[in-house]
Subunit: 447 residues, 2 copies
Amino acid sequence: MTAHQIVLGLAITDGYGALHGSWRAPHVPADAYADIEATIRHARAAERGKFAFLFTPDFPAVRGDIEGDTLSNVMDPIVSLTAIARATERIGFVATGSTTFREPFNQARQFKALDVISHGRAGWNAVTTSDPAVAANYGRPVADRQERYQRAHEAIQITQALWGSWEKDAWIRDKDAGRFLDPEKLRPINLGGEHVASRGPLAIPPSEQGQPVIFTSGGPSPHLLTIAGRYASGFITEVWTIEEARAQRRMIREAARDAGRDPDEIKYIVGLMTTVAPTVREGLDRRIALSGGIIEARLPHLNAMLGLRLRPEQIDDPLTPEVLAAAHSSPADPRSGIALAVAREGWSPRDVLAHGVIDYHPTVVGPGERHADHMQEWFEAGAADGFWISPDIYEDGVDAFVDEVVPLLQERGIYPSEYPGTTLRENLGVPAQYGLDPRIGDGGGAR
Amino acid sequence: MTAHQIVLGLAITDGYGALHGSWRAPHVPADAYADIEATIRHARAAERGKFAFLFTPDFPAVRGDIEGDTLSNVMDPIVSLTAIARATERIGFVATGSTTFREPFNQARQFKALDVISHGRAGWNAVTTSDPAVAANYGRPVADRQERYQRAHEAIQITQALWGSWEKDAWIRDKDAGRFLDPEKLRPINLGGEHVASRGPLAIPPSEQGQPVIFTSGGPSPHLLTIAGRYASGFITEVWTIEEARAQRRMIREAARDAGRDPDEIKYIVGLMTTVAPTVREGLDRRIALSGGIIEARLPHLNAMLGLRLRPEQIDDPLTPEVLAAAHSSPADPRSGIALAVAREGWSPRDVLAHGVIDYHPTVVGPGERHADHMQEWFEAGAADGFWISPDIYEDGVDAFVDEVVPLLQERGIYPSEYPGTTLRENLGVPAQYGLDPRIGDGGGAR
């Protein structure tokens, strides 16, 4: 890994796709949520496209419209990714694991076991959890922010210390001498803070990458910036504009520098939703076909974003020059500028909405080139080190991205043609670490 | 699955074997502990022998002589068994999971996800944890017995209720109607007790066996008997004599009856260590070759068991008629009677010890027939419904058992020639259950 190149991750959720209604597409298996073989197909497609990692966002509670929509999680991040690890060779795994509702010893043990079994391909997206629906599943109240982040520092430090508690050369395995392990090199950590503690050691040897890679994710609050700056090798976020992304990336890199690290040690990965189709029109039709009533339901939101008063019966009429002249983007919503730009291309309100202007991430619809252009622009503007891709429909959307977008990125020299190495750390381009980072003090953490 | 037949499980630990020094055998890979491929070979061998399940005992702390001996655990039960699930078709998995140190929601989620991914082959060995070394890894004091068992009742009930919270016909998946799930059939459980609670629901559909099978294990204290009687379909134990085993099995069955269940719903599974060899002599030599100094070190213990005062230099001399006449078994140690019977066969003290008379379980050494005889005797005496096998050395010991012992059991009609079904529940011969057992009241549990 020499040149600075884009890093790609693939969001792995419930097996259907990012598009509302993706589960209803005729070619999508209706039971993909419970069928690990479906997700394995998507993982293998991403591996064909040299994706560095699969990423399982996780919200361990049921929310939203479960009657009309799907569940947005894998059944269980560790179980699902372990199964996928057995069916892949190079792609990494970044599993979300709550610092609030999991025991550090269990978390450390499962992630390092996955790392060893996958030969150095595991990463941990360490996040705090504040949602009352999740807290209720653990029979606990929501802790305040100060407590959640204090526990997060403690949990991450304990986890990393446990990972390092089996020293790299502890495992002697000398059959003749009858020495299995050097007891001087598998030792307790005796680390604890206000909320969690562990004695250790953890009896798991180093993997090919030493220990799992730490990620974190969310909006860059001061609390989260401290977590990211001190521990994370990857920061996963949702951001709408290049300007906002550049500012965030600068903050993240500054946080790493403040913690005594090289800013290049942390990769800033932004979300992107994709619909790869021969033409924009075909892409929009693919999206509209599965949208159910959601596009119509979003018209009032589009009106608010653009300062318009379009009526439902106008949803299929291209916007007139007069309407467009009156339109303006709402400063309250970062997506408004994108919506306005799309509207000015002459689409109907339905088509504007089908562009994904009111979704979780920026969305690209159309030929591979449009996707490659988007990523190249963000990457070269310093707005992202990489992207985590949420395809509209997994079943064919990953293959389409790999076949139509990846080759363009490779031709442009901004994406690798082969995996740089065999481990997640190598494929991300982040440095080795084993145990706690000696550059990071214990301020605010476990001791 | 018609006749009453023996159920077999294979202990899965660190990849080496039950014999002290197994890791030093020339044909054993020294890195088996971290090499899941080694354990997969053993699992596949057991599957060839129609074993109903793999069982991972688990002690989540480092103990004992790690310099000279191995670690006695898999790296992580859930991660290891999920990886093995992908490499096998029929064999089940019984993973130990602490009710004391794991969150019920996480436990319920991971076991049911493994159950779905393995198409109905998962079981949970639900145990309390009282060891200070384990508690220290979680930064907590050891809770008293009353509290541990109260939490265990709550944790098991919450887990089973979460498993049933996705009702069997909740998943509509009607693409035309746009109905994914019936929200009336995926509902909160709102169950809690003094120590743990969860709102739910858990968004995982039924597996082919509905939900994981509950096991428990340990010595039959009154507290554990209540757990076993109310919830368990399998009871895993270590017991030395037929008499003791019959008495325990009666107690377990009585506990099930007391809880309103049919005693045949709970399988009593006893431990057995195996060395399959063409002759007893060859088996003893295989064991002695790897024993390091442990046999010599155990001579004083043998003296105490038999009321003798043998000196180290006598370890290779067969016991004289005078010594044997003076020997008597110590009533303080249930293994003494076995040791005395072996001594009377005319072996030297070294050979008596090499018979495994001071080990965790009864040990059989020699031809397949001796193993089959042992199991048949216990089974027909009502001392066991099955056995969990700890082979001396995994690398060839599982194959030897499958090739030399299993066919004899099959010829004798006391062991199945094919898997009775595809799920753990079918292969154990235990009835269906989904959610909480309606026959079990909530006395002492969650509410």
